[in-house]
């Protein structure tokens, strides 16, 4: 590290390392090519801000305009749903429970009564960024994870 040549070549290595690293990590955005294609397809079929539903991607079919979480005996069918929304837009989804319960969304402190067998639409402005749990007060189960992205 004493010679000038040494320092210059070191500098070049650094720049090359930074560029390679950036390209590699930036390139795939943390998603597989399949996921990216699927996301592009979803974006074409469903307008953004309408609750583009990431959770349904795993099921391999396009999401409905308003994702509906079906709750049976206090538990979400198909596991905890992950719902993505953009900050500044509207959080919009629906819940149908076969038993009477109460929905609570942490952070926003939104509460909704869920009568048995009825579909309840939940809508509120997505004003806080972050990850929030939606849980049932009756059964104590988490049914969804809301991600409000900037």
């Amino acid at each position: 590290m004493d010679s000038k040549v040494g320092r210059v070549s070191l500098g070049l290595v650094v720049v090359a390392a930074a560029v390679v690293l950036f390209v590699v990590l930036r390139g795939d955005d943390g998603k597989s090519p399949y996921e990216q294609m699927e996301e592009e397809r979803l974006e074409k079929t469903a307008p953004r801000n309408d609750g583009a539903d990431d959770g349904s991607r795993a099921e391999g079919r396009p999401s409905p305009a308003v994702p509906t979480i079906v709750v049976r005996a206090g538990k979400p069918v198909g596991g905890v749903r992950e719902l993505d929304f953009d900050a500044g837009g509207t959080v919009r989804f629906a819940v149908r429970s076969n038993t009477v319960d109460e929905l609570h969304i942490h952070g926003y402190d939104v509460e909704r009564q869920l009568p048995a067998g009825r579909t309840v639409r939940v809508e509120f402005p997505a004003s806080i960024e972050g990850i929030f749990e939606a849980e049932l007060h009756g059964s104590g189960e988490q049914i969804a994870e809301l991600r409000i992205n900037p």
């Binding site: 070191l10 952070g107 926003y108 009564q113």
Partner: protein
């Protein structure tokens, strides 16, 4: 059917994982900074002497004088009492009870930052030290002689604090009934733990002496004092003074097992980050496997989490040990045990960076609760002592972007400061500059590993 403006909860909101592009930039900057540090490195140590200089005598008299010290001690003891009382008599909901937020957020996360900025501010407020000093003083007044103590086994060093640190975080995140969810500890359990710790600490102070125990065994004194060693302000022989920033960490770490304290701090923070992301699956599988063996669900989760928290600490220790052994292989190296101690303080900035990265948003949000409804209604029983009981947390004060930048910024700064301290220490230990530089490839690898692990944890948390 109402949309309340404020929320009440310890962890009602979690941070979004940092996006891939920010992860890449963070990692790139870390690498560039590291190589840059290698190429411009200085050859003489610059942080070895702390060059402490006393501030004005008036300042020392005012801040270190008996009246203010007594007042601070009284405040500390009062807050300890409020914590225990709220825990035992207040609501069982952790988010509505003063005890949980005060211990695990306000004090636990607030003092490290305050200590770096202002010096060892926990010392005057330490309730156990205050009680110990009053009892010791009373004993001396009655018996006419200073209380006698057992000699502290010096080889034990700071082991009691290191073990205690892991135990404290274990209580915070593992013991809580819902295991794995941040601070799910029941307030009355917390109060009982505080009482047990008080009994233990006062016993140890009686046996070994108040100051000696504070410097070696008392978890909070050691932990907050560790961060204070990075800062510019320190009291010495009853006088307040200023010293060169970052210059006192090496001196702090000379006691045996100081490295264990830093590693415990890093390992437990890594566990807290990983249990929400990378380790969530394995921890659940381990828990289910134990349930299949016939254990209760709570017990199984606790055992699994305990194993994983110890694994995290062990993993951090292993990486540091590799670095130390690597350095030992460089010609002219001091002994292994000397190296282990000599570089312990270089991990303190990284420990602080981890702390900021993982708890910054929690702290900002939860302190709003601390100074509104938890202040006016500490028991959660509907009182309104100061008229702030109806206040709450406004989550809009921090955007996701602001949180991300603070997180990545903290890790990068911690990394650079750690590198600076390690390089400086190497130039002091190796007479030959070339060998010193060679030894630092090892520490560079250690630091890059820790920082990239930190970035990785932020990018997979909750995903």
């Amino acid at each position: 059917m109402t949309l309340l403006p404020f929320a009440h909860a310890l962890v009602a909101r979690e941070d979004l994982p940092i996006p891939a592009w920010l992860f890449a930039w963070g990692a790139s900057i870390v690498l560039i900074a590291s190589f840059f540090a290698l190429s411009v490195a200085w050859r003489e140590p610059r942080f070895e002497g702390d060059r402490w200089r006393a501030l004005g005598a008036g300042v020392s008299r005012a801040l270190l004088g008996a009246p203010l010290q007594a007042l601070c001690g009284a405040v500390g003891v009062f807050l300890l009492g409020v914590t225990v009382y709220a825990g035992l008599e207040g609501t069982t909901a952790p988010d509505r009870n003063f005890a949980i937020t005060f211990v695990f957020v306000t004090a636990w996360l607030g003092f490290p930052v305050l200590s770096v900025l202002l010096g060892d501010v926990f010392r005057p407020f330490n309730p156990w030290r205050a009680i110990g000093r009053v009892v010791g003083g009373a004993f001396a007044a009655i018996a006419g002689e200073q209380p006698r103590h057992l000699p502290y086994p010096e080889r034990l060093g700071r082991w009691p604090a290191a073990v205690g640190l892991v135990a404290f975080v274990w209580l915070e995140i593992v013991y809580g009934p819902s295991g794995g969810i941040a601070v799910a500890l029941a307030p009355d359990d917390a109060a009982v733990a505080v009482l047990a710790y008080t009994a233990y600490t006062l016993t140890m102070m009686a046996l070994f002496g108040v100051e000696r125990w504070c410097e070696r065994g008392e978890i909070f004194s050691v932990y907050f004092g560790m961060f204070a060693s990075l800062g510019a302000f320190a009291a010495r022989d009853g006088r307040l003074g200023a010293r060169k920033l970052l210059s006192a960490g090496g001196g702090w770490a000379v006691l045996p097992a100081s490295a264990a304290v830093v590693i415990a701090s890093l390992g437990t923070t890594v566990f807290d980050g990983a249990q929400e992301g990378g380790l969530e699956g394995p921890m659940e599988s381990a828990g289910e496997w134990l349930v299949d063996l016939g254990l209760g669900e709570v017990t199984a989760t606790r055992i699994a989490d305990t194993v994983f928290i110890l694994l995290c600490v062990a993993a951090i220790w292993a990486v540091y040990e590799i670095g130390v052994r690597g350095m030992a292989s460089v010609r002219g190296a001091p002994s292994l045990s000397r190296l282990r101690t000599a570089f312990a303080h270089t991990l303190i900035p990284i420990a602080l960076a981890y702390l900021v990265a993982h708890y910054f948003s929690l702290f900002v949000f939860q302190e709003q609760a601390q100074f509104t409804y938890l202040l006016s209604d500490p028991l959660g029983t509907g009182s309104d002592l100061f008229g702030t009981a109806s206040g709450g947390i406004d989550y809009r004060v921090l955007s996701a972007n602001a949180i991300w930048y603070v997180q990545v910024g903290a890790l990068v700064i911690g990394h650079v400061v750690g590198l600076v301290l390690a390089h400086d220490r190497a130039t002091a230990l190796w007479g030959d500059y070339r060998q010193a530089a060679r030894s630092q490839y090892w520490m560079l690898a250690v630091m890059v590993a820790f920082t990239c692990l930190g970035l990785y944890l932020l990018s997979v948390a909750n995903s």
